[in-house]
């Protein structure tokens, strides 16, 4: 057997070289596809009338195969991941008839928000193993427990609860069809910013799939900030808590006094 293989090798090599040469001659543009995304702005400000918003991200495929594009076999998933912060998950159990927080697990590096937009339903793009490997999707995003040596069953339960609660609060979301191809290689992704979107540096990531195979990823940063007044109020509360408290009390005195003058009914 070994011998047959050995003597066949030069022949095989010859054929392969031929093929390669031929391919280069036919389609010199076979370079792997890549993906680019661009944000129209690198900062979103939260003003006093903010009640959630849609964020549009444009992107393009480089070196897309027109054939594959026409058949709609390119898929794009765009993710907007919020800043990571530690989170405590608490569980209530029944004690003396009352529902009381009894157990808790701390997780570090939990993205405060995670919204996904896809071209199609997730299961139609690629398989679960791929999503898991890419840590893509709310159920796969990396969540590190503070106590790494904890009971894996408990950690699993609490991390699932964390994802479920985040979904319920609208901070983890998914929009099927949120990514649309505008032409063969230009696409637009629409992501939802929840009314309680966390401020900080968010990362937009775009994943390109071809026939269910992951090809390439690209990312861009986006800062979500409170607008001037909101930011000043927040800063004042954080850095000058005492003076802020005095200001709040003075405001209450003035409002109470003015209210008495304006609305008096006796």
């Amino acid at each position: 057997m070994r011998q047959i293989k050995a003597c066949k090798l030069p022949f095989l090599l010859f054929i392969l070289t031929l093929c390669a040469v031929e391919a280069r001659a036919q389609a010199p543009e076979i370079v792997p596809e890549s993906i680019q995304i661009g944000l129209s702005t690198d900062r979103v400000t939260i003003t006093s009338d903010f009640s959630g918003a849609d964020l549009t991200i444009f992107g393009a495929l480089d070196n897309a195969d027109p054939m594959v594009a026409r058949q709609g076999r390119y898929d794009v998933i765009v993710v907007l991941e919020g800043p990571a912060r530690p989170v405590v998950v608490r569980k209530k159990t029944r004690v003396l008839g009352m529902w009381i927080n009894t157990q808790s697990e701390t997780f570090v590096n939990v993205p405060m928000s995670y919204s996904v937009a896809t071209t199609r339903a997730r299961q139609d793009i690629t398989n679960t193993a791929n999503y898991k490997q890419l840590a893509l999707g709310a159920e796969n995003v990396n969540i590190t427990p503070y106590d790494r040596n904890g009971d894996p069953v408990t950690l699993e339960e609490f991390s699932n609860a964390l994802r479920e609660r985040k979904k319920a609060s609208g901070l983890f979301s998914e929009r099927i069809g949120g990514v649309q191809f505008l032409s063969q290689n230009l696409f637009r992704a629409t992501l939802h910013l929840a009314p309680n979107v966390p401020v900080g540096t968010h990362r937009a990531r775009a994943f390109l799939f071809k026939n269910g195979v992951f090809i390439k990823e690209n990312s861009a940063q986006l800062a979500i900030l409170k607008a001037g007044f909101e930011q000043r109020v927040y800063r004042a509360a954080q850095n000058h808590g005492f003076l802020y408290g005095i200001a709040a009390v003075l405001l209450a005195f003035v409002t109470g006094w003015l209210g008495r003058i304006i609305f008096r009914r006796d």
Partner: protein
């Protein structure tokens, strides 16, 4: 109409908050209480984080108490000396309360403790008030004259040392129970985000036997400063006062209070007390319901 709250870091409906403030203001004007015991639970039902609801509620109470106390200032029904002594106790209690508040928050039992205190206190006060006012209503119907306070009747409170004379209230009483009442109410105020009027008024009437006409004014006067102190302590220690939320509540509250006060004048004292008792009991039941009925999700998330 959405408005973004810079401290709570969330967007709320401005009309809902203004209406909430106005409704509570109306009731507080009608009954002569600050209304903190209604505002804080309402904010929590509206998904404002409890820590922010409590601190912001205290701030709102300052405005409604100032508004209410001005009426009593004009009528001369405030005992400043009694109010000041109550306040000294109140400040001590409030300091301790804010410390306990931060401790409970870090161990994750703040919500439970706040709910338990609310259920226990509102349930007790509401129940007692209801019984008392129903009896008064029955007496009024049968035409019997209510038993008047007899001047010579003293309880153990009046045998304590360190006596002080309060001219306006026509009292000569030890400062220990006065400071004690102030401290307990200050403690509760900083944990519950309330002024404590609904406990202060019965305590002054039944324990210290303060004449009814100066009770409400003195209580409001004292609450202004306890609530102001609570606001400042929470703001310094926990950074949980949302000034935008508080302002909306205040505007709704002071407007509603003036209309409520006029509506209150059309009702008789016992009727008012019975209605207030029912309201207090309703809030207690609603909170007890949350405590004893299985929540929609047994899990909750908090930042570190």
């Amino acid at each position: 109409m959405g408005i973004y709250l810079p401290i709570a870091e969330m967007s709320v409906n401005m009309v809902v908050i203004l209406a909430m403030g106005a409704a509570v203001g109306f009731l507080s004007g009608m009954f002569g209480v600050g209304g903190g015991f209604l505002i804080t639970p309402l904010l929590i039902f509206y998904n404002i984080p409890p820590a922010i609801a409590v601190a912001t509620g205290a701030n709102q109470v300052v405005a409604s108490s100032v508004s209410g106390a001005l009426v009593h200032l004009k009528k001369g029904t405030i005992d400043f000396k009694l109010g000041t002594v109550l306040l000294v106790g109140g400040i001590a209690g409030s300091t301790l309360g804010a410390w306990v508040f931060a401790l409970l928050r870090s161990v994750g039992q703040l919500d439970l403790f706040v709910s338990l205190v609310y259920v226990a206190l509102l349930g007790t006060v509401g129940g007692l008030m209801l019984v008392e006012s129903v009896r008064a209503l029955q007496r009024a119907r049968t035409g019997a004259t209510p038993a008047l306070r007899q001047p010579g009747q003293h309880n153990w409170i009046h045998r304590l040392p360190f006596k002080m004379r309060f001219r306006q209230s026509k009292m000569f009483v030890s400062v220990i129970p006065v400071l004690g009442i102030g401290a307990v109410i200050g403690f509760l105020a900083s944990i519950m985000g309330v002024g404590g009027g609904f406990i202060m008024i019965p305590a002054l009437i039944y324990i210290l036997k303060v004449p009814t006409n100066v009770v409400v004014g003195t209580s409001l006067f004292q609450i202004i400063f306890t609530a102001a102190y609570t606001t400042i302590v929470h703001s310094t220690a926990n950074q949980t006062v949302d000034i935008v939320l508080a302002f909306l509540l205040m505007v709704g509250g002071v407007a509603g209070a003036q209309y409520g006060a006029r509506a209150g004048q059309k009702l008789r004292g016992e009727q008012l007390r019975a209605l207030l008792a029912l309201l207090v009991l309703a809030v207690a039941l609603r909170l007890a319901f949350d405590l004893f009925v299985r929540p929609a999700s047994v899990y909750s998330l908090t930042g570190l």
